[in-house]
């Protein structure tokens, strides 16, 4: 992960099924990925899965937890209310428009010109867009660096 970040300015999203334990989310976060995409295809999310999703949204930067929405508008609304970006399982411009126009979507959008995973089309980026993306990327990297602590280093830095 460090090598990728050293050579490329890219957002890294880990694709995974919804894990059973919260510590797996922390583990993913400690890898240094910027976001998570839960590709689990289910008709509905169980209570335990909703807890895991909520836990992930609290740990990762706003707008960087994605989940499969099965092209179901109810599920889309549920995911948005959980602050998770819904990802349709099949490309549907109408659904994308529906998601982006949802009243709560603006609060959880990752604040980019095109939302990753949701919008497949590549946008044309101006210099200002690129600077904004670079700043967002470095802010996320800094947040991750500040929050992920090595026990040995913490012990050492305490002066003990």
């Amino acid at each position: 992960m460090d090598t990728i970040k050293k050579y490329y300015d890219i957002f890294i999203v880990l694709k995974s099924a919804i894990p059973q334990h919260k510590y797996r989310i922390e583990e993913y976060f400690s890898y240094g990925v910027h976001g998570l995409y839960f590709s689990t295809s289910a008709d509905a999310y169980s209570r335990e899965q909703v807890e895991i999703l909520t836990f992930a949204t609290e740990l990762f930067t706003r707008g960087w937890v994605f989940a499969n929405a099965q092209n179901d508008k109810n599920m889309i609304s549920q995911l948005i209310s959980l602050k998770v970006i819904p990802v349709p399982s099949e490309q549907d411009s109408g659904l994308v428009k529906f998601i982006k126009s949802h009243q709560s979507f603006a609060n959880i959008s990752p604040n980019l010109k095109s939302v990753p995973l949701l919008e497949q089309e590549q946008s044309d980026y101006s210099l200002a867009d690129k600077i904004k993306m670079k700043m967002l990327l470095e802010t996320m990297n800094l947040r991750q660096k500040l929050m992920v602590k090595n026990i040995d280093e913490s012990f050492g830095s305490s002066g003990l």
Binding site: E27, S30, M147, V148, N150, I151, G159
Partner: protein
């Protein structure tokens, strides 16, 4: 998740401040420095050069105390700032690296490397511990006196680092638990012995030659190797005896069977093998060096003796450059060069005279108050600040104050340099403390409490000697 990683969920602002506190402090101090250095409202009666020297001095104090950048780098920056703001001409500033004290320190580092490389110090250590380590209190006393004695000839941190693995293997063989009284006092003996022994000569800690360097640069006066020992050794030896009585009494209750240690000592002794010729050579060079320092330093100069002695370790093939260069603390050399430059700048720009005239002379210190205040300030400041930094921060002002009180500046050197080495309270106060603390046998709170009592004891003893013995031998 990996076992050695965890997620810190405190607010990001808190995490940011913790992670970047050094950078924030540095930025904040640098902005303040720029504001003050370009300030045109210079106090009345102070020259521009003196004002610039004061601002640079305060900036340097902040950096030395906070340790946000390495001490040596602060010193190098100070030299650059002194030249940039025209406090002193740059060729003069850089010439302070030619100070005799710096070359004495380089020589002393190489001598210590030579002794370590020969294995002489290890042999002496095993011999002493095997000879006297047959009872718990005798073992602790042997560690204490051995550390103190070796720190007369080697840097105190080198003594602690050398004895540490030997003492750890002793504790392991004795199966001592982390709350063991014997284990605790073995490592207190190591730390306290190294620290106390290190102030008696110029070799235990380079801060003493540094103080002499500042004295020479400012006043042209100096203190010889023997003069230093005659002045400092009696009070410190008394403290050593009092501490020895204390540690022996604390450990006397231990009934640990020490017979098992015979194996440790014989194994250690066997590893070292029979006496090597280079150990004999190292001993002869050391003996000759000390003889010249004590009896011929007036004629030859201690720095010259140190350099010739250092060269002899190579001429007689006792050590090699690869080993020796690891022992030379180049950071200390860089720091001391800058520190001497700053001390001289304070003097030559008239800043010290200004401070003295404006503030200190109005305080009407008696000699007794002067001794108590300076000694206390130095002994407690050194608990949180590098030993050498204490000398640099306090000595120029204290020397000037002493002169204005019609006291010799050499008294100021003793009152600042001696207590600056007596850091007992915290692991970060001095390297021997940190090494002893890393054993796990001693606790922070207890160390601080005992260290505080030791500081008070040292203050009391030195005060008595300063008011009596130092007068008799003509220090002031």
């Amino acid at each position: 998740m990996k076992n050695d990683v965890y997620i810190d969920r405190r607010p990001l602002v808190t995490l940011f401040l913790i992670e970047y506190k050094n950078a924030i402090l540095l930025l904040f101090s640098f902005i303040l420095f720029l504001i003050f250095i370009y300030n045109k409202n210079i106090p009345h009666g102070m020259s521009t050069e003196a004002y610039h020297a004061l601002v640079i001095f305060l900036f340097a104090i902040f950096l030395w105390v906070s340790n946000v950048i390495p001490l040596a780098i602060t010193s190098l920056m100070v030299m650059g700032l002194l030249a940039t703001f025209e406090v002193l001409p740059d060729e003069k500033i850089f010439s302070f690296f030619g100070n005799k004290s710096l070359f004495f320190i380089i020589g002393a580092f190489i001598i210590a490397a030579g002794i370590s490389g020969s294995g002489l110090n290890k042999r002496i250590s095993y011999y002493i511990l095997a000879k006297f380590g047959d009872k718990p209190h005798r073992l602790v006393l042997a560690v204490f006196f051995l550390s103190a004695a070796l720190a007369h000839f080697m840097p105190e941190y080198a003594v602690a680092a050398m004895l540490f693995p030997i003492l750890m293997s002793i504790c392991k063989r004795l199966n001592l638990k982390k709350d063991s009284v014997l284990g605790k006092y073995i490592f207190y003996a190591l730390a306290w012995g190294s620290v106390l022994g290190g102030v008696v000569t110029f070799l235990g800690g380079a801060r003493n030659p540094l103080a002499i360097g500042i004295l020479e640069q400012s006043t042209g006066q100096t203190i010889g190797f023997l003069d230093w020992m005659i002045t400092v050794a009696p009070p410190v030896y008394l403290v050593i005896i009092l501490v020895a009585i204390y540690v022996a009494r604390e450990v006397r209750a231990s009934t640990k069977d020490m017979q098992i240690l015979k194996d440790v000592f014989s194994e250690g002794g066997e590893r070292i093998g029979k006496v090597q010729f280079k150990e004999i050579k190292a001993l002869l060079i050391l003996a000759g060096t000390i003889f010249l320092w004590v009896f011929e330093s007036g004629r030859i100069g201690i720095a010259n003796v140190a350099l010739i002695s250092a060269a002899l370790f190579f001429v007689l093939n006792v050590t090699n450059w690869e080993d020796a260069k690891k022992e030379i603390n180049w950071g200390a050399i860089l720091m001391y060069g800058g520190a001497i430059a700053l001390g001289t700048a304070l003097e030559q720009t008239g800043l010290l005279e200004y401070i003295n005239q404006s503030y200190i002379s109005k305080m009407n210190f008696s000699t007794l108050t002067f001794i108590i205040v300076v000694f206390s300030l130095s002994v407690f400041l050194t608990e949180g600040v590098s030993n050498a930094a204490v000398v640099v921060i306090l000595l120029p002002v204290v020397m000037k104050t002493a002169i204005s009180m019609n006291l010799p500046p050499t008294l100021a050197v003793y009152l600042v340099a001696v207590p600056s080495g007596l850091a007992f309270m915290f692991p970060m106060s001095s390297p021997p403390n940190a090494i002893a603390y890393s054993s796990g046998f001693i606790k922070m709170g207890e160390t601080a409490a005992k260290g505080f009592i030791l500081c008070i004891l040292c203050l009391a003893v030195v005060l008595v000697f300063a008011l009596t013995y130092w007068r008799i031998i003509g220090i002031y």
